[in-house]
């Protein structure tokens, strides 16, 4: 049972604190910092389902976030849908898209799949940049009056913040739920040895397509919320390859394959990045430092921070999953 896992309650407490503290202090700049942390956790956690659990590297994970943003914004502004409904619909549409796509490209294994994901990202980006209803390369804007329906811009911003925190908590709970399920065991079997998994009766094609599709849902919802909050979207910010890659750095840093590791890596990396970007001396070297960090982790600590903790305190495995 998921309710008997200490991590489950930890996630809830963590999310509640993240929602409550900036609201109580009415601190808008803290809220803007934390929403980026929450986004990093969402992206890293869902990427973990592919890289950490199933062993398939997805370089183009951000495509789900961007497409979710586009579908959500289109429904919420052009079609005047309720924001929550629009975000959920965006998640659903993008998941279905991922399912159909996954059936095709998941026939590829290992590095070939990884390359195909780059191709998918760039193909989708250039399609959207030429797609008229979505404003081609100039993108779409949220009309300011749209916020009025949510009780004014100020209220709308807080509401999207709480929703994003909710999506973050759901991402982590989803990771935990899959990890302790039979489905999760099937994924781990695919990661360890796909041929052996087939022999043992795991329907690998279906498992892989499902997890690919599931890993698309919450990032797409988050995309709809984030771009609604930001008020605009265009192909270069929606499908930022860099962000896709930074998701991998976050995951490796925290520890792939663990629920807490993905979140920890996401949070820490986001903090590090905002520190580097605002520091006058180091702002040019954000990429260099991120790269060096990734290299060190890959070469010397493939388990990331959580893997290191496991080695230090083997009993931590039971609590920190």
């Amino acid at each position: 049972m998921i309710l008997r896992r200490p991590v489950f309650w930890l996630i809830l407490v963590f999310a509640a604190l993240m929602a409550f503290i900036p609201f109580h202090a009415n601190d808008v700049s803290m809220r803007e910092d934390l929403i980026l942390v929450a986004l990093a956790v969402i992206l890293a956690s869902n990427l973990n389902l592919m890289i950490g659990y199933t062993g398939y590297v997805n370089f183009g994970h951000i495509v789900f976030y961007g497409l979710g943003g586009y579908v959500g914004l289109y429904l919420a502004t052009v079609r005047n849908w309720n924001l929550v409904l629009a975000a959920l619909a965006a998640g659903l549409v993008v998941s279905l898209f991922a399912l159909a796509l996954g059936m095709g490209i998941l026939r590829l294994r290992g590095a070939y799949f990884a390359l195909a994901t780059i191709g998918v990202l760039l193909a989708v980006q250039s399609f959207v940049a030429n797609f008229d209803p979505w404003g081609r390369s100039t993108g779409m804007y949220v009309d300011f009056s749209a916020y009025q329906r949510l009780g004014g811009a100020r209220h709308a911003l807080w509401m999207t913040y709480f929703l994003v925190i909710g999506v973050m908590a759901l991402s982590m709970i989803l990771s935990l739920g899959i990890k302790i399920s039979k489905f999760g065991l099937g994924l781990f079997a695919i990661r360890e040895d796909e041929d052996a998994a087939v022999v043992l009766g795991v329907n690998t094609t279906v498992f892989k397509a499902i997890i690919y599709s599931v890993s698309a849902f919450l990032p797409a919802v988050a995309g709809a919320l984030m771009f609604y909050k930001n008020g605009m979207i265009d192909p270069s910010i929606a499908f930022e390859f860099m962000l896709s890659l930074e998701g991998i750095v976050m995951l490796m840093l925290g520890g792939k394959g663990t629920v807490v590791g993905a979140a920890l890596g996401g949070g820490l990396y986001e903090k590090l990045r905002s520190y580097l970007l605002t520091s006058p001396k180091l702002s040019n070297f954000q990429l260099v430092i991120a790269g060096a960090l990734l290299l060190l982790v890959v070469l010397f600590a493939p388990g990331g921070l959580i893997g290191w903790l496991y080695r230090l305190v083997p009993r931590a495995r039971k609590v920190i999953e």
């Binding site: 780059i118 390369s137 070469l299």
Partner: protein, 286 residues
């Protein structure tokens, strides 16, 4: 009609440069099963290498390819030692991520030095004119240089001892080691040659188009497309597939907006990857 022909000839010339870039990727991939994600940033370094050398020695830019090839070999050894040597034998994910990490570092340092604004190498060879169309000398010279380098690599791989050792290791590393070939040396050499090819293709591109430190990424993607089209470990196949891609670009350019080309290329890439995982020159044997 002659417009399409001219556009296709242009595509063919540029395609041979794509092919050269892809040969570097294909060699490394085929020999050591490493997908070298520093490829794009090395192509960009080749462009800036040409820019710096040409600024210092304003001779015929195509002679400067020799020092760039040599520097590429050295750079390749360094990158090999930093990112690849330690993960040989580990899962493909490790080398994918470690070369990617080095890619981020190169791009980061490059951005700090040159920012992301465009540069160009101001060197023009006289071309010739047929009817309404002019073929620039640079395109012809770049294509010729690419073909010469490709043929030299082919000769090296098939006619010299180190070249044969590389092919032996690619074929079966353990058997090659039993024959007394030091596989570490061979892997380092193959990686260095791959990087030198990438750098030289970047240098050739820099004589054709303006470039930024980020330009390499686009050529890296084209290299993936070409490598996948050609199948692994076939240097001349990569050259041919590069020419094919160039021809395709040239053939569609007159008809559709340039902004659609990436969609066609990457769509083609994904489709070929799924439908012909061994390349279009190999008959699929499931």
């Amino acid at each position: 009609m002659s417009g399409i022909l001219a556009s296709m000839i242009d595509g063919l010339l540029i395609g041979s440069v794509y092919g050269l870039a892809a040969m570097g990727l294909s060699l490394i991939w085929g020999v050591m099963d490493v997908i070298n994600l520093t490829h794009g940033s090395v192509i960009a370094l080749g462009m800036f290498g040409m820019y710096i050398l040409f600024a210092a020695f304003p001779v015929n830019a195509y002679f400067l390819l020799l020092p760039i090839l040599a520097a590429g070999l050295l750079l390749g050894l360094v990158i090999y030692w930093i990112s690849v040597h330690w993960v040989i034998g580990r899962s493909q994910l490790s080398s994918l991520l470690s070369t990617f990490a080095v890619n981020m570092m190169i791009i980061g340092i490059g951005t700090a030095i040159w920012s992301t604004s465009p540069y160009n190498v101001n060197f023009t060879l006289r071309g010739f004119t047929v009817g309404d169309y002019t073929f620039t000398g640079n395109h012809i010279a770049a294509a010729t240089a690419a073909v010469i380098i490709a043929l030299a690599l082919e000769l090296f791989l098939y006619r010299t001892r180190p070249g044969k050792a590389i092919r032996a290791v690619a074929d079966n590393r353990e058997a090659a080691e039993l024959m007394g070939i030091s596989s570490t040396m061979v892997l380092a050499l193959a990686f260095a040659i791959g990087i030198a090819l990438a750098a030289s293709s970047g240098a050739l591109v820099s004589t054709l188009f303006p470039f930024t430190i980020l330009s390499g990424a686009g050529y890296q993607m084209k290299s993936f497309v070409v490598t996948v089209l050609a199948g692994l470990g076939k240097p001349l196949g990569a050259l041919a597939a590069g020419v094919l891609l160039g021809l395709l670009e040239g053939a569609v350019t007159p008809f559709i907006a340039v902004s659609w080309i990436p969609l066609i290329e990457f769509g083609l890439f994904v489709v070929v990857l799924v439908a012909f995982p061994k390349g279009i020159f190999t008959r699929a044997t499931a």
